[in-house]
Amino acid sequence: MNLNGVQIDDTFAEAFNMRGTRVIITAQNLKWAYHAASAMTGFATSVIGCGVEAGIERELSADETPDNRPGVSILMFAMGSKVLMQQLETRMGQCILTCPTAAAFNGVDSKMPEVEQISLGKHLRYFGDGYQTSKLIAGKRYWRIPVMDGEFLTEETTGMVRAIGGGNFLVLAASQPQALAACEAAIEAMKKVPNVIMPFPGGVVRSGSKVGSKYPKLFASSNDAFCPTLKGIVKTALSDDIESVMEIVIDGMTFEDIARSMKVGIEAACSLGSKGGIKRISAGNYGGKLGPHHFKLHEILK
């Protein structure tokens, strides 16, 4: 398969079951909503070292939020419900409670399948030291916690759903700047797709890994088959004309959401074409034995 002169490998991305949630963060203005959301989704690139993978899904105008203030929606994913609940509470306490004017609301539609309610401000309320106040408004419970800038308002719970993490594709290019330019184009297009996040810095990851290592204590190490500087010495997956490889990882609420974002991302990356130095699009997998969800590139791009 070939898209604008770029070869699309006949392979698939292998993804895993995760637990996901969405939180709506609002503030006095977008600047402070972003401060809160950036802190909450900071250090959340990979479950391997961060516990959760999180990112800003999109901006919300004042008429889209519960309290009619501008905001952003964030998505957060973890391998299990326990870690997700723990990380959500910690990040709410350290990043949203602390951020001037910020408020937090449930962002998951209760009609979604298998929604479970998890604590958003339910335990955080005790910060109010007895002066916290609960209000039941239109069937939803909120907590008002007195803080130094006024009142911190948070919904009691948010929804947790079954989600998918680890959708991905690799951009193989003739040079590092060209690989990055293609990934930037892909991320710009993918940001417009709802229900997904690309959790790595700027949405792009350069340190793709393989399972295992020569060092017994490490369970993952650099994906040498895709490292251009090792082309001559390892069993490489790269041809002579490829000098740089970058990966985009996608977590999403459903299989369809991830597939849609991969499609628009690959198409945007390929829009630079082989003349722009983009040579191949591939995907990362573990032979199909570890993850139950397989995103076949040729099927996605049909």
Binding site: P66, N68, T133, A138, R144, G150, L153
Partner: protein
Amino acid sequence: MTALTFTLKTKLQSKLNCSELTPDKLANLSIAQIKTLTLSSNKNAPKVKDFFDVSGDDASHIVFKNISQQCDYIGHHMKNGQITVEGNAGDFLGANMRGGQIICQGDVGDRLGDMMRRGLILIDGDAGAYCGSRMIAGTIGVYGKVGAYMGFALRRGTFLLTQTPATQATWLDCGTHTLPFLSLMFNSFKSLDSKFAKLSNTRVQRWMGDASQNGTGEILIVHR
């Protein structure tokens, strides 16, 4: 479905206990069954049909029409649904309330929301003495004036007022603030047939009390 409507057909000479006429108590009853209900547990208690014309079929929304301040205990211990009072209501409106909402488009008597634990009461007119007495939680809005001893022995809960009530030593002024939760609350009022539907200013003066009970309730005086 139309709201279950109770229209008072006689001029009352004495107090009438309406505590049996709540959405949760009347759910799944036919009009014929409702008409024969007794209005209290007394042996010779009057029946609903002695005082009210009954129409409609949606017990989750009860409307009282043509009633007076002789009708007490409307919405007593109600757990869900809505009660709308078109006109004035008597004492103990929403007493012991456990959920749902009551909208009164006229004045109410004393002890409005006495021992209320949950729910919303909005009064377009004035309220009598001991409004929200012994209240445990919930929200009471009074658009008009409130009588003496408001929030007496209250533990928690919110009063929304548009006029400053009489000062009491056990209610402490906490200053003027812009409270973000009010925009959510005012949004939820917009669909209601009440003067509160017009409110939008989230800047309020906040008093806390009842200090004699270590209460953390609040009176919010909204600037219209």
